[in-house]
Amino acid sequence: MLALSLRGIATRKLRTALTVFAVVLGVALVSGTYMLTDTINSSFDEVFQTANQNVDVAITPTRVFGSDTEGNAVTPNPLPASLLERVRRVPGVALAAGSVFEMGQIYDKDDDPLITTGAPMFISDTSPRRFDPFVYVEGHPPVGPREVALDKFSADKAGYEIGDTVRLSGEGPQEAFRLVGIAKFGEADSLGGAAVAIVAPPVAQRLLDLHDEFTTIQVAAEPGTQPTELAAAIRAVVPARVATVRTGEQQAASDSQDIKDNLSFLRTFLFVFAGIALFVGAFLIANTFSITVAQRVREFALLRMIGANRRQVLRAVVGEALLIGLLGAVIGFLAGFVIAPGLKALFKLFGADFPASGIVLLPRTVIVSLLLGTVITLVSALSPALRATRVPPMAALQEAATLPRGRAARWRTPLAAAVAVLGIVILCLGLFGSASGGDAAALVGIGAAVVFIGVGLLASHIVQPLSLAVGKPLEWLRGVSGRLARENASRNPRRTASTSAALMIGVALVAFMTIFAAGLKASIADAVDLGLKGQLLAQTTNFSPTPAAARGVLASVEGVETVSGIRFTKAIVAGEGRPNVTGVDPRTIGDVFNVDWVDGSAATLRALGPGEVLLSKRWSEDHDRGVGDTLRVTTPTNTRLTAKVTGVYDDDANLLGALTFPNAVLATAFNVRGDAFLMAATAPGLDVETVKERADRVVSAAFPSVEVLTKDEFVERQEGQVNQLLALIYVLLALALLIALFGIVNTLFLTIHERTRELGMLRAIGTSRRQVKRMVRYEAVITAMIGAVLGVVLGAIFAVLVTIPLKSEGFKISIPVGQLVLLLVVAAIFGVIAAIWPARRAAKLDVLNALAYE
């Protein structure tokens, strides 16, 4: 039977190739994702090993929050010099040095931030030689107050050479330095894609607004002292609340782990798309096997007639599936080597550059890829294979043998409906149930997948009316070709349904994302409109906090009346979770931002003092706290403070978090000294645009990374970010659409093969090649449109469902009709493209051969 499977594959090369392709893309995405993320992880492992290579013990500020920061600023307090002194006195310490490594800005020759791809830029100070991970390839370490060194990657990127002027800024305005050194980081040109400017310790302290404080204390042990012993000894003199003591090795592992936790999101993100691709592929495989089994009824009957038992027939089909799956898995795995750098390039295109040179291949990648491809193909082909076993031997004698209807066929429709309903239930459970975070998302995903299966099975019932709706206009326009295409499309509703279902999945997800993004953009615009009273906003171009000194500079601009900064962080409230915290400037916030009050008034906000806190309506309701209550809060710096609730606000704009403190408290107790962005009100009667341009000029001169925007421009920026993410998702979903496209191609080839004699007759009685092509093309368009219409409808339903829980957070649903229509048009074009090759084959059929074809 294996020989038969092999022969089957060999004689049907094209079909095999198209089926294999359905597995390849999904598997390639899985293996490519593994390779990419493994490579990134290993790059970071190297970075942190280099950073800690001669460090026996590392001391870092104790962190309260892990990687669950949700983009908020949660930096613990730096380590004071007094702590360094205490460490130096511990017996066994040969050398202890404090160092600074903080985010800052490095500018290129055009005064733009040197890195714009999302990787961070750091300002660091020179370390004692023993700890210094930098190896100077040109020049020397910076010593003087105006000297700087850069990592080789950044110097090369910006074209800086020794002697050039390099501008930096930390918390203050930009300053100019002379480049005196270019260094490699250990063996590498850069620290995993980040840029680092190295300056003398006092310079770093001044730039970053530190006061004899360090972000790390590095310790070398006396000869004969074990790092673990030394770490224990230091731990005894350092309060655990303030600082965490680790050996160098532990520190490297811990740093790596942090990065890996952050990157695990990337892996999950990509796996979602790999899952979608595999899911669509599974639909296709099932469909292809269904069609081929139906076409080979006589072959199976003959096998049965000459004595093959059911098990052997099953083995022949399953064997073919196994071979196709394995082939697809192997090719997919190998394609991962192309996909991995492809994904990296894709992310770079969308502004995220990951350090990944070479490709790290773990055995797990090989095993998972091969298993996944093979198992998915096998499972998808199982039902058609079982159907093949039901072919009676008698079928061999019949002219037009068809597959017997299974006993389950009667239950098919109610079963499919039940599956669809089950999917909706799971989906809603995820959305409205008690599960949260990843579990809820998983439930939503599984629910959507189950709905797809259910609708895919039910779709055969709507093929007829839909192909009528789609095909009628074609018939009016194009006469008989359109008519025949329509009839052919609805001839085998189940086949057309599963072919278009593959496309439906991709289209539904695209439609969902489009609608969701449109809602998001509408909500942003709405929030800005509702909330912002001020006319101007200032923010950095690269997501880093606005330098503390920028506020004063903006306020000094002529025509700017009030400037108010807003900050975001997190806190732990004893027994009440980890709410988002907002910092505001109580005196000025009321001039630039609208707040509705449940309990309190604008005066409450103005009077907000240290030791006082305002609550959002939602948090106050969920946690049953109100005015007069006292909250016990732990901050990211591990500071405990108590605050009395003085007001409850209802923020329609959804800018303010659950808890609102004065900025002064955020600076002292939360270590959040920079504003996320600034809001400004212009003096009445002045042209906003003129003031904005003046403000932008003044602020950019001191802080090249900061830009001043009008409200509209701010909304545009935010929308731009949404669009960018959307574009990335579209690109990844395109893979699923591509697979579906190949599915249509495959089905068309198979049906043309089936209808050879009909095509021959049509050609004999005078149908032109062009008409034949047109007929095939329209059938493809109708199939694609059925998938697209179903997809858009499902996508819209998903979008509405998913956004229901977001309503309370001010989410506005908005249906972008134009874009959805465009999506349908694109789907139609997909159909035309899918038909090119099969149509050509149909038109090329030799009339005589086709007529003689049995």
């Binding site: 025949l484 004699r757 049509l762 005078g766 032109s768 005589l848 007529l851």
Partner: protein
């Protein structure tokens, strides 16, 4: 009966394969079929009768000689022109009916006109439908029709575009004897009443006896060309030439 030739063949040759293995399916066939004639082409298997029909109908290209339909030399036509010629001047009836299962009987009948983008001459269609006796089956799909009914629909389809010539390839090959008789009667009627020119390839002596003229092929050559007689006479004829 007028004698204007609708279909002509002059020294037609069709060779399959090359060199030693070459087979001459047609080895110099010359023929003139006048308008309004019902001609049967007979011959044993492999005699070249199907090839002759394919070449005469423009489905296959001869390797030598010329064939014309309605005065048009087929060798001067490219694929596109040949398709148009088949569409406008030729009707086909196949052994296995070859109706489109997705279309109703009426739609199948009108298909050639639809393909050509021509309007249906309703009076003409009604006349044909009446002639082939399928008026009550027009809305049925082929799967709901008997073999004889399907072939009658196919005859109507061949006649609908008023072709210069109808080629029938073993039209009774898949039918029982009473259905066969009906279909042959129809062809006869189309010749007698509508003045249709019909060329029928068959190896059924009863079928051939319906024709006006019988051309017998053997080994790619015409071995008999004369008027048809009764079925028995045709049987005798076949015995002598075979």
């Amino acid at each position: 009966m007028t004698a204007i030739p609708i279909v002509t063949a002059v020294d037609l040759r069709r060779r399959f394969g090359e060199g030693e293995a070459a087979v001459d399916a047609l080895d110099g066939v010359s023929l003139e079929l006048p308008a309004g004639a019902f001609t049967a082409i007979m011959g044993p298997s492999g005699s070249g009768k199907s090839t002759l029909m394919h070449v005469l109908a423009g489905l296959d290209k001869p390797t030598g000689g010329t064939a014309t339909i309605d005065g048009i030399d087929l060798s001067t036509l490219d694929d596109k022109k040949l398709t148009e010629l088949r569409r406008d001047k030729v009707g086909f009836i196949f052994q296995s009916f070859n109706l489109l299962p997705v279309l109703t009987a009426q739609e199948n009948i009108e298909l050639p006109l639809k393909i050509a983008g021509r309007d249906v001459d309703e009076a003409w269609r009604d006349q044909i439908v009446q002639t082939v006796h399928i008026g009550d089956r027009l809305t049925h799909h082929p799967s709901e029709l008997s073999g004889g009914q399907q072939q009658r629909v196919a005859v109507a389809r061949a006649l609908i575009s008023k072709p210069a010539v109808v080629f029938a390839d073993e039209p009774t090959g898949n039918l029982d004897s009473s259905s066969s008789a009906e279909v042959l009667q129809l062809l006869r009627q189309s010749v007698d009443e509508l003045g249709q020119t019909v060329v029928m390839v068959t190896h059924d002596a009863n079928a051939a006896a319906t024709a006006d003229r019988i051309v017998v092929l053997d080994d790619g050559k015409i071995v008999h060309d004369g008027s048809a007689g009764t079925a028995d006479e045709v049987h005798d004829l076949m015995r002598t030439v075979g």
